[in-house]
Amino acid sequence: MKRLMILPLVLAGLAAGYSVRAETSGGEVDFGKFSAPGKGSEFVEVQIKSNLLSLAAQLVEKEEPQAAKLLRSVRMVRVNVVGLTDENRDAMEKRIARIGRELDQQGWERNVNVQGKEGEDVGVYTKTRGGEALEGVAITVLDPKHLVLVNVVGDIRPDQIAALGESLHIKHLKEVGTAIKQND
């Protein structure tokens, strides 16, 4: 009788544990909410999850197998673009600094840090899992007109990123992949 009573409790505990693990994802970044942009500015958000990414992987599988493999290892891609105006520029600069601090506290590594001549600020953060794969990639770009935030969540291998950059002839992607691989 006792075993019959314990079994549902054990199952409930396992389910709760599973649901907690399923809800939290180490590679996901909360960039925060964005209030209505002022006049003349814009806010764009694109979020693509694994079901659509696998469709894209099917399309490119034969022609670009490296790209397809990378797409399949990604669970989510989120891109936020905020137009900067005189009204929201200070707030967005503070937001990006806060994001950087929070990522440092959560164990993310800053792999790339570029300061441009015209005031651009590019940061690439990564979070590894098991020392071999990337759980998440976060990219922040601040230029005079836009704030761009990118978060990629999945099980990504740095050599896949570099190989993808090589096959697509995207120099920056190849450099990012190589930089991430060297820092690991």
């Binding site: 909410k33 964005f34 209030s35 209505a36 942009p37 006049k39 003349g40 500015s41 814009e42 806010f43 764009v44 958000e45 694109v46 979020q47 693509i48 999850k49 079901n51 659509l52 696998s54 469709l55 099917q58 399309l59 034969k62 022609e63 137009g83």
Partner: protein, 217 residues
Amino acid sequence: MKPTSTPTVSCSSSEYRWLGVLLAFFFITPVLLVLGVTSYFRLNSDTRALRSSLVEASQAEWQPQLSLNLGSLTCGAIRYGLSSLPLEPEAHAAVQAVRRAEVSLLRLAPGSEPADRAAMLEATDAVMSRRGWDRVVGVREGNELVAVYVSAKTTSFRRMESCMVVLTGEQLIVASARANLQPLLDCVLNERGLHARLRLPADLAGAEGEYRRHAQH
């Protein structure tokens, strides 16, 4: 005196059965006709939920202008009717792709002002997420808002379902569609000559697809 016999009228059971069928036909047919006609102006539950959540979150008054629903049967009839017309391959592919489409148009009542677009989007995201839809795109610029939702169950090009919202200063447009994108993919890939090179899996190759028959004419 001979007893008079009263005439009797008798109906067999089969005659009663036919009478019942005729009566049912005359009663049911108008009901089906009314249901069929009204279905053109009745949106499906997900589109209605999207529209309702936006209207509620806006905290403003909206006047319905138009609601139109082209279901699977109607779209199939349209595909059949247009199949013999000499259209461009891309147009044929686009027509072949659409399986269902609906749209609802509302206008802001005079004197009303919608609430914050970000709050509207957040409220609508919660409602659609509970119904199994993911927001893929959200754009806000000034008073305008555009959002695109895709069903979380979408795993194949043969069945893509999406909902779209466009909110301008005074107009709210909610639309949804279900499509089989295989004809469009065939069109694009044929133009680029990629079919032979890629040797696509059966799901995408569509060797027996309707589009190929039209492309050859």
